[in-house]
Amino acid sequence: MTREWIHPGLLLIAGAWILPFCKGRTKRAVMILLPAAALVECVVMQPGTYGVVRLLGQEVIFGRVDRLALVFSYVFALVALIGMVYSLHVNDDAQHVAALTYAGAALGAVFAGDFLSLFLFWELMALSAAILVLLRRRPAAVAAGFRYVLVHIFGGLCLLAGIVLHWSHTGSLRFGDLSPYAGSAAFTLILIAFLVNAAVPPLGAWLPDAYPEATATGAVFLTAFTTKSAVYALIRGFAGTEILVWWGAAMAVYGVVYAVLENDARRLLAYHIISQVGYMICGVGLGTELALNGATAHAFAHILYKALLFMGAGAVLQVTGLRKLSDMGGLYKMMPRTLSLYMVGAFAISAVPLFSGFVTKSMVVSAAGESHRAAIYLLLTLASSGTFLHTGLKLPYYMFFGRDRGLRAEEPPRNMLVAMGLAAVACVVIGVVPVVLYSQLPYRVDYIPFTVRHVTATLGLLGFTALGFFLLLKQLDPEPVVSLDTDWFYRRGGTAVQNFAQGALARLEGSVSRLSDVVMQRFVLGVGAQLRDIDLRGVDAMMVGIGRLTEEVSCDLTLAMSGHVQRYALIMAAGILAGVALAVFGL
């Protein structure tokens, strides 16, 4: 079977360069045709191995096509199409080329059969995504994009180091299950690199940092590819790694906790990405067929409903120019269609029955149940409640309902609504007829999502979460704050310590005064002071941050280059003496 095989990713990457040369209607047609062609290509593709190239004495496989790769390719191509429809109105060729390159590179990574091609597409993804962030062309976006680049270069070099070590130990570059090598340095390095891209805390602060800074249309692409290709890579290589079970569950809760504090609409959704990816990683760690199916299915559904949610928030951003929840409210009258399409996405992510999240998230949770891991099960269910709390209740309430601030708004351009509609249809179809997705999953599916117990428990969970929401509505009022995350370490220098100390002191007094009991006061003061001391000392020790430290070292070293020839000659002489001494006596 030697049919001509065109790499769908290459189709997107190369085809994107046609765009700058088209105008008007042709350009819009090309924008839609390219991802559509890629989607068609993926759908008709047969499993097999294609595109093998011999390089440096190894086989580089560009087209390893099996069920796992295919299902991811379907959703990547689909969301690329939806994203392109969403950005039809944008007049910036650079964004379109970057977005298509990004999508093409993700497809490349999914079909990569060996580590070298995987690395190639990994770096291309990081580069094109960073460019997509930078193309917002505002100072905050430029800074966030630069940080994105640095974090991903770090991840990329971890991956390269792991690949090289793996190659030197095994002599093979095939990208497959790495569990036989668990515990080796190569295993750890590659795992770290995949976890960086999956935005796993503490390596994941780049996600909530960069995604809200991108354009309304660019963010839709960003949410889909980097994290999910990392999930694919983890499913492929690290299925069954025990530590991922706990890490994923913690991640699911972490995202939800940070989302409570968030004021920026898209940053809140970004933290939810972290939370949902936590489910997928937990599934990878559990390693059973149901769990891996669940992780894949959840990734599939997540790409679609997350894109829908970001499209909704992006539409609000586009029409009103607002991004902070504390500034919004009362939009439901003027943007009813956006609201209803957004709510489809919100129901999907909250796993309301008859929407896609219900049939996918429950696979992972059930897998935890079948492995009899009660703590994981409880944590994941807690995070489900939190997810509904934010995306299904808090966001729409404060964006569309809430206090009417007399904002002027209208429905966004038609292409944005069409794109949202496409995604919404997909979410509902999967939710109502899950076999459409189940038949594509890598392993055989025996799972039935619509059981009485499951449906009633889910409805109860969601309903009473809503009750809790309304009870504590006052507490949830969004405040104009930012929350500290692990990116503090590379964003802040020594001046942060002053502010931190003063801020911590102020907050301590505030929390103390709230408790009227004298005994409680003394207790809280004591504990708080201890915490502050530890924080200060710990922070002091890491005061400079790695970047500042390197810069200072560099400045110091530069002072040593004085410009005096005699000093240079002295250094040379010292070097020669050391070298000769080493040669003669040392060995």
Binding site: Y258, G463, F464, V482
Partner: protein, 73 residues
């Protein structure tokens, strides 16, 4: 007003449905002992929601939140 009323009605329906459901229809076996508590989903939903809100707000107030311009240098 009517929204609130419908909301409370819905809550009651869900809770009752959850308690009665496994008895009326053929129920599948539970993985854990706590799943057999009546209205387990509803209770845990309320508890989770309150835990998350209160816990996160506390964490934020004590440690994590900063004014908006914290990172601008």
């Amino acid at each position: 007003m009517t929204f609130k009323r419908w909301f409370h009605v819905g809550l009651v329906v869900f809770a009752v449905g959850e308690i009665a459901g496994p008895h009326l229809f053929r129920a599948d076996h539970a993985h854990f002992w706590f799943e057999d508590i009546p209205a387990w989903g509803s209770i845990y939903g309320l508890v989770s929601c309150l835990l998350i809100i209160i816990g996160s707000k506390l964490l934020g107030k004590l440690w994590l939140t900063r004014p908006e311009n914290y990172y601008d240098s």
